[in-house]
Symmetry: C2
Subunit: 294 residues, 2 copies
Amino acid sequence: MICIDWGTTSFRAFRLGKDGTIRDRRANTRGILNVPDARFSDTLRDEIGPWLALGESRVVLSGMIGSRQGWKEAPYLPCPATPADIATALTDIDFDWAQVKLVPGLSGRDPSGVAEVMRGEETQVIGVPSLMAEGGLACLPGTHSKWVTVTPGRIAHFTTHMTGEVYAALRGHTILGRTIRDGAPNGAAFESGVRRSGDPGGLLHHIFGVRAEALAGHLAEHDAGAYLSGILIGHEVRSGLTGASGTVVHVIGAPDLTQLYASAIAACGGFAERHDGEAAAHGLAAIGARAAWL
Amino acid sequence: MICIDWGTTSFRAFRLGKDGTIRDRRANTRGILNVPDARFSDTLRDEIGPWLALGESRVVLSGMIGSRQGWKEAPYLPCPATPADIATALTDIDFDWAQVKLVPGLSGRDPSGVAEVMRGEETQVIGVPSLMAEGGLACLPGTHSKWVTVTPGRIAHFTTHMTGEVYAALRGHTILGRTIRDGAPNGAAFESGVRRSGDPGGLLHHIFGVRAEALAGHLAEHDAGAYLSGILIGHEVRSGLTGASGTVVHVIGAPDLTQLYASAIAACGGFAERHDGEAAAHGLAAIGARAAWL
């Protein structure tokens, strides 16, 4: 089976054997924003043609490729949802060289009843077998981080935090950018920001400290980005851990990001277990195994 | 005496009588960013020339005109500070047609020891006599909102919240902008955002709801800006009121903004007393009255 996590700016494809192991992988920047004239069919053939030649005939896709801006819109499936629920809600796509099925995103409500959506992260959660078997809490950091609550066998509910996008907007489009210079990653400055997120005063106040501390000579400009990142991730983690202190959090994603989050989670009283983003391949395979193929 | 609040984008001048009443006023957009080639002296003469001809010879300035980007840098005075302390820390400016003195900004530390600065707001606080006499809590909403704690006769400490600037960055430079359309002010949507700020989940999560609720059809695009504003102002007000629920908050500024803040403060358990921004004139006069003139 061929499993593809096709996002806004990245394309990651995996060829899995019958035993579920990854036999081959491709990753590049042909995300949906980088596919000219919506030529998704041509792009897919170009990417996986050699694998089709090996006899592969089943392809499962997830991510923003199933959004209105993607190849075909796959309606959201409401939570709670099991992998089997998702497998019965796949959208077929016309493609001359293989059977292609699109995984729906999930919709839900946060604990206060406010609408939530995700598209792609559900396959990463499903790809962590211990989490799906026993239930637990997962964190998928990124532009729009997701905190997902799993009960045994199903995705129960989730919340989104705009951490990555807010970091970029603050750095690029507010006065904070004037006191932030690129620098080597500074773990101490990041941890200082995470601690700061626990102070009274709230996020809108804490971020001003990036500028005021730099002006006062207490914060070097090449450390200011890491400090701001620590403040934002710290706020996210504290919210995500509310009522769950001492909990194991399964952090799923790219290693540099999961390392930062693991350190913030530890500082805020949780325990992090890190998983890399290839979980998506295993989640897609688990869904594909339950799908109705010709 | 001539009292001038000279900010980044606005210029507001007042001519006060000996009894402290405002006799005349001028307001326009000749803030420091809009003065070509740093011709501050020419601009000032142009603005207040007719008043000088009436015999006025003392001018007090506050605001960003005293910053590094302004006419002359007036160093920050540390808190706590009385109007008399400020009056002894004025910076003289060369100007051929009158004596001109610049009010210093204030520096301080927030309750956690993190650096704070303000420049201009201190004169507005000093311009509310009941607040200065009895002490209390003031809120000066804006791009960088200030919450100022006054003990009788002095400004004790303060915190900054980047509420206005964060609103602009989120609306202009994140995905939230795609679901926000201009619309008539909607008090109900604003209040709904203020209530939302009290839910669990934190600011980074609440703001995503602007998009998710719009996508779900629960929030009209022309109400989404007011809802986002309510979320942000609600977070600021809840932080500002921490440990001070039931308190009177003196809200000082432009009427449209103080009205929004007053409604948020009431929704969050405080009591607002509104003052308009002309408080700056009275604060400058109180400082000027204690200054050493030739």
